[in-house]
């Protein structure tokens, strides 16, 4: 497989002319094909990662929802306190017991601890 003779300068010049003709006749891509490549580039264009996205400006609804939640919790707490005071009397009534049950060692009766209707109305 020994390579034989070197190219003569005359052949070399002829080859250069062929190569020059080849450079001038370079295959060129069509416009449609280039448009397809551009569409591919658009399709694969990286989008910003979610963590890097700017935080959305809070809407009025978002701002109010926090206060509404807190207000709801406060209302539930107040209702719980009121029920805590009012329930023994109600439960006793439902259970058929009298309302004069003796209280604890302090000597108070339950009726003394339960707010009167006027007191309950005062808080509303």
């Amino acid at each position: 497989m020994a390579m034989a003779d070197e190219i003569t300068s005359r052949d070399d010049a002829a080859l250069d002319r062929l190569l020059a003709a080849g450079r001038n006749a370079a295959p060129a891509p069509g416009a449609d094909f280039l448009a397809r490549l551009e569409a591919d580039a658009e399709t694969h264009l990286p989008r910003p990662a979610p963590g890097a996205a700017p935080r959305p400006v809070p809407t009025l609804g978002h701002r109010l929802s926090g206060w509404l939640t807190a207000g709801g919790l406060a209302t539930a707490a107040a209702a719980g306190v009121w029920i805590g005071f009012a329930a023994p009397d109600t439960l006793n009534s439902l259970a058929g017991y009298g309302t004069t049950a003796t209280a604890t060692d302090d000597g108070f009766t339950i009726s003394e601890l339960v707010p009167t209707p006027e007191q309950a109305a005062y808080g509303e």
């Binding site: 005359r10 002319r17 062929l18 080849g22 891509p29 910003p48």
Partner: protein, 199 residues
């Protein structure tokens, strides 16, 4: 040789392509279109010369560009020259397709070998010269053809061809020299002397 490679890395063309790719990776659509305009015609010319089939060349270039888009977000400045990377991917895809084909063109298929190359070329039109060159290129062994196309038709410097082909610069010089001798042989009918035989 090292200085040649370094000089190639410092050439003015590398930075803009890299900057465009990084910009594309950051979501710049215009940078993507600019890269298509810069790279696609060169990659297509290379692929079409190697494959001698326009639609196949389009498929190869499209696949190369899609791979480029996918790698863009991870691309870092100074990592590599974008065109070198793209040529290399294209070359590998071309090689896969050539190897999947049955040999369709042998050196015997070269049109009208002339007794004297210089005399024959002298009488040809430019169109005929380009066609004769195309036929002769097709008859070269694949690696020689790659080197000749990249060096003498695409005009790339030897250090860049070395990086694309993953070989040394001396090996590129050897391949291009043998490739030119092969072209001359194919065109002048001296193929037997140079050992290419019948396929």
């Amino acid at each position: 040789m090292q200085s040649d490679a370094q000089a190639a890395d410092r050439s003015g063309e590398a930075a803009p392509d890299t900057a465009l790719l990084v910009a594309y990776g950051n979501g710049d659509a215009v940078a993507g279109r600019d890269l298509v305009a810069r790279l696609a015609p060169r990659l297509y010319a290379y692929a079409a010369r190697m494959l001698r089939d326009g639609p196949e060349a389009e498929d190869v270039v499209q696949e190369t560009m899609i791979r480029l888009w996918k790698i863009a977000p991870e691309w870092r400045q100074g990592e590599a020259k974008v065109s070198t990377w793209a040529y290399r991917v294209t070359m590998n895809l071309v090689t896969d397709r050539l190897r999947a084909r049955r040999p369709s063109v042998t050196i015997d298929a070269v049109a009208e070998p002339a007794a004297d190359l210089a005399d024959a070329v002298e009488t040809m039109t430019d169109v005929a010269r380009a066609r004769a060159l195309d036929d002769a290129l097709a008859a070269l062994p694949e690696r020689q053809r790659q080197a000749v196309v990249l060096r003498h038709l695409e005009g790339l410097p030897n250090p860049e061809i070395a990086r694309i082909m993953d070989i040394g610069v001396e090996a590129v010089e050897s391949l291009t020299a043998r490739g030119k001798r092969g072209l001359a042989a194919a065109l002048s009918g001296r193929k037997e002397e140079l050992g290419y035989g019948n396929g």
